[in-house]
């Protein structure tokens, strides 16, 4: 039984000049329990839109999305979201930021403290509990952002370009930490990124979305065991294949994409 099932998802939105844009077209996707799926695609394709639909943050214009065979119509505590720039509240300390979801859900205080201790340790945030987000580096902020999601113990974690705002070295560290976390916590992960190498290094399966209207252009199963090697030839081969497909998928002469 798939954990997340998207069936013929359609999404339109109005652009600023009033034009109706067809963002997602007939997107059908199943994510198995414990699977790590990455979505890549040229910039402006609907990858973040799709993620927000799965999160229950955006309504869809056609099709449906299921979590364990239950239709998603609103946000759900079983679906956690890690946002692009961590989106921590500047007026809360790191500890209070991580505790936010538990406060909202009215988790008992002792239980809160227990979970906070565990995840602050796990995300290497010890010593930063009483700092404010503005005092932290991008990498540390995103660690706190991930911890904030993990303390709620969601079944599925959606990540929207979570490491795009950090430097390369930190990104590599965070990627490895994420893989270890996944091993330990056994989460189902949907990961949106514009970094193809990142997608190939992390995911069990990579989905390529085409330019608008976005359809699933291609699917790649990454047949490599963890821990993976960053210079692995097979991974490099898959990455370059995805790259070629992106170019093929974008028919215009001038294509804007990120590597």
């Amino acid at each position: 039984m798939p954990t997340i099932k998207a069936n013929k998802v359609e999404k339109y939105y109005r652009s600023n000049d009033g034009e109706l844009v067809h963002a997602l077209k007939d997107v059908t996707l199943e994510i198995k329990d414990g699977e790590f799926v990455a979505i890549v695609g040229p910039s402006g394709c609907g990858k973040s839109t799709f993620l927000e639909i799965v999160a229950g943050l955006l309504p869809l214009d056609g099709g449906e999305v299921y979590l364990d065979d239950e239709k998603i119509t609103d946000t759900d505590r079983n679906i956690g979201v890690v946002f692009q720039d961590a989106s921590l509240f500047p007026w809360r300390t790191i500890k209070k930021n991580i505790a936010f979801g538990m406060e909202i859900a009215k988790v008992p205080k002792e239980e809160q403290e227990k979970r906070l201790k565990h995840y602050i340790e796990l995300m290497n945030l010890r010593g930063f509990e009483n700092k404010f987000p503005s005092q932290l580096s991008g990498g540390m902020k995103q660690r706190a952002g991930i911890a904030r999601t993990l303390v709620m113990d969601p079944k599925v974690i959606l990540m929207d370009e979570p490491f795009s705002a950090v430097d390369h070295l930190t990104r590599c560290t965070l990627q490895d930490e994420l893989l270890k976390l996944r091993e330990k916590e056994k989460k189902t992960i949907l990961f949106v990124t514009h970094d193809i190498n990142e997608a190939v290094y992390l995911a069990d399966r990579v989905i390529l979305l085409s330019p608008r209207p976005s359809v699933i252009q291609e699917e790649y199963v990454i047949k490599a065991d963890y821990p993976r090697n960053r210079d692995d030839e097979y991974l490099a081969h898959v990455a370059s294949k995805i790259m070629k497909d992106i170019v093929k998928g974008s028919k215009q002469d001038t294509i804007e994409y990120y590597i």
Binding site: A55, R77, F83, S87, E103
Partner: protein, 265 residues
């Protein structure tokens, strides 16, 4: 060398030196021009006359009761406006329908030049303390109200998304996210209001009052005492600046730990 985390002390630059020289030259010229009779004492008082007059009205105890009265009016009127402004803002943020209903009336009252209502206020509340309080209140309450509400409305969409993901209800969204997000904007309103509050007090005291700095000012005008007028203008300016600084200091003590930019205080 400033240690990490310490605010760097401003250096006294060449430009600052020039500015200082310009002020000294200007004051010295006025002193000379008045002493030499080139400008009439009725129009401009020399720096020395102003200082002498200040010493006189302070030492004779003339100034003190007026200053205290003005400060009392200022503080009471301002605190009333701040309390009402913030509380009404909270209810608007919580119940947007209430804003929809009240906005028309508040905007209408806000649009009336407050100085034009003064005669009516005097008719209703007399020339004493009460009419001043009401005028300061009307002068400042809308700045506080609208700045706070606007701040809450400009809450970053991403914060609202986070709240939704964690399934916050409306009260949690307002109290845990929109209100903290509105604090910087609320303080902007409070600072603007602090700056305008004194204008309101002094104006109403000049029009009709039994005391206060504005009363003292218009009395000095009738006596053609330009030294006293200059001194009161300087004093009112200093009070106004200090009052705004005080609000900025309160803002700093609340927000400085989480704000990236250190506000200028």
């Amino acid at each position: 060398m400033a240690a990490r985390g310490q605010i760097k002390k401003k250096k006294f630059t060449f430009i600052n030196a020039l500015q200082l020289v310009a002020i000294i030259v200007l004051l010295a010229y006025i002193q000379y021009a008045v002493d030499a009779g080139r400008i009439s004492k009725i129009f401009i008082a020399s720096p020395k006359m102003i200082v002498d007059e200040a010493i006189k009205i302070i030492s004779k105890g003339i100034l003190w009761p007026h200053l205290v009265l003005t400060l009392q009016e200022l503080v009471v009127g301002y605190l009333l406006a701040a309390a009402v402004g913030v509380v009404v803002a909270l209810t608007w943020i919580l119940f947007p329908k209430l804003e929809e209903f009240m906005d028309l009336f508040c905007s209408a009252i806000m649009a009336v030049p407050k100085t034009a209502i003064l005669p009516l206020l005097i008719l209703w509340f007399g020339i004493g303390f009460k009419s001043k309080i009401v005028l300061i209140f009307l002068f400042t309450v809308f700045q506080i109200l609208y700045n706070t509400v606007t701040g809450a409305k400009q809450t970053d969409v991403k914060f609202i998304k986070v709240a939704k993901v964690f399934k916050a209800n409306r009260f949690q969204l307002v109290f845990d996210i929109m209100i903290p997000a509105a604090i910087p904007s609320m303080f902007n309103g409070l600072k603007l209001a602090a700056a305008t509050a004194l204008t309101g007090v002094v104006f109403s005291e000049m029009q009709s009052a039994k005391g206060g700095l504005g009363f003292l000012l218009s009395e000095a005008q009738q006596l053609l005492n330009s030294a006293r007028m200059f001194f009161i203008i300087v004093l009112v300016t200093v009070v106004s600046v200090l009052f705004v600084r005080l609000i900025a200091l309160i803002e700093y003590s609340i927000c400085h730990r989480w704000q990236q930019k250190v506000p200028h205080i």
